[in-house]
Symmetry: C2
Subunit: 239 residues, 2 copies
Amino acid sequence: MSSTTARKRRAAFRAVKHIENGMVIGLGSGSTALQAIKMIGELLDSGELYDIMGVPTSSQTMFESIKMKIPLTTLDEYPQLDLGLDGADQIDNKLNAIKGGGGALFREKIIAAACKEYILMADNTKITETLGIGQLLPIEVYPFAITPVIKAIEKLGSKVTIRVTNGKLGPVITDNGNYLIDADFGPIQDPWWLEQEIHSVPGVIETGLFLGYANLAYIGGKGSVKRLKPSIDDTLKKK
Amino acid sequence: MSSTTARKRRAAFRAVKHIENGMVIGLGSGSTALQAIKMIGELLDSGELYDIMGVPTSSQTMFESIKMKIPLTTLDEYPQLDLGLDGADQIDNKLNAIKGGGGALFREKIIAAACKEYILMADNTKITETLGIGQLLPIEVYPFAITPVIKAIEKLGSKVTIRVTNGKLGPVITDNGNYLIDADFGPIQDPWWLEQEIHSVPGVIETGLFLGYANLAYIGGKGSVKRLKPSIDDTLKKK
């Protein structure tokens, strides 16, 4: 197991401990979230956890959850979820985050907003002083509007590229049928302002700025896990 | 021709006069916009207009434009349009509007934002002192998020219904594959604030609040047309 994978596993392990029997869980996407899903499946299989249901944030997570025999449900049956666990591409000390590297940001954000408690899990390379340093901001865009939206996002001070894939010709198509752009804003000094500006562009579906959702984060390091609360951090005992 | 139809025609007639040869036009949706499209088609047919292209705001408008032989193009070829003509469900004296009764608000707003000049056309029953009086606010919503979004919109102080149709069982599906909800907020005292609040709900695709887009409106009355600029109105000569 690579060092980074071990750090992600450590973070996921701590987050999964928050799950209680009877809970309905938002299941995140990406490599760290998949570690958590695997652990949840194993805990269900061993009988340590039971009576859990999950709402997946992506097709990838849905398939993985079914494989791990986690019963699935929907936001229509459970519009409020007890707990959400997800990864992030970048996290600041307020636990604001950039997400969307895996292209699942729209459903991830819908689920983040639906969770009573929302925990981020990441390895310690994801921590930043300021969001946007060395990190592109993914934005999901309705294809009909892609060209004027790119012009509008560039006007806000970024360089934009349309995300392409090697799985098909041309742009990535998200689980929701849209395009993704990656916007290089450099350091984002006022993410709340930027979020509002981007959302006022018609044709923008959602941005990768996750502001004010997380009430806790576990950050996996070399043999240790940091437990972060918004703007307060304290290193936990090694495990 | 009914009295209301005649008023819509009068408004559309005045708006269409703004079209110049060589322009690329945003083509609105709904009964008043369809009157304008018919007039544009007739002017092209007679040779009074030529070298015009349109970007349609809905499937309905696309089909009608093709029928009227208006050449069509896209926002990818022309991310900025010379002129947009569209109807509205309700218009205040700042020319802020509620749109979406016909379910085309998402593309209509993308196109409104792309137009250098944007003209609303309506009969005089659409004028209001305050948006929201006797008028539901349509909102397009991503189906995955419909239940939590309804809860969030109701928390903002409205009563919400999912729009259904007699053309299929269950909810209307928009040209973009989404649901529509109609939110009864009553009088909307601060539409800019409401717009921002609704847009901050993940799963909302777009709202029917069109704020700051129109620089001109033609309002058809009984034998006359009013020409309105934002917060300034002056009755024009009868025609």
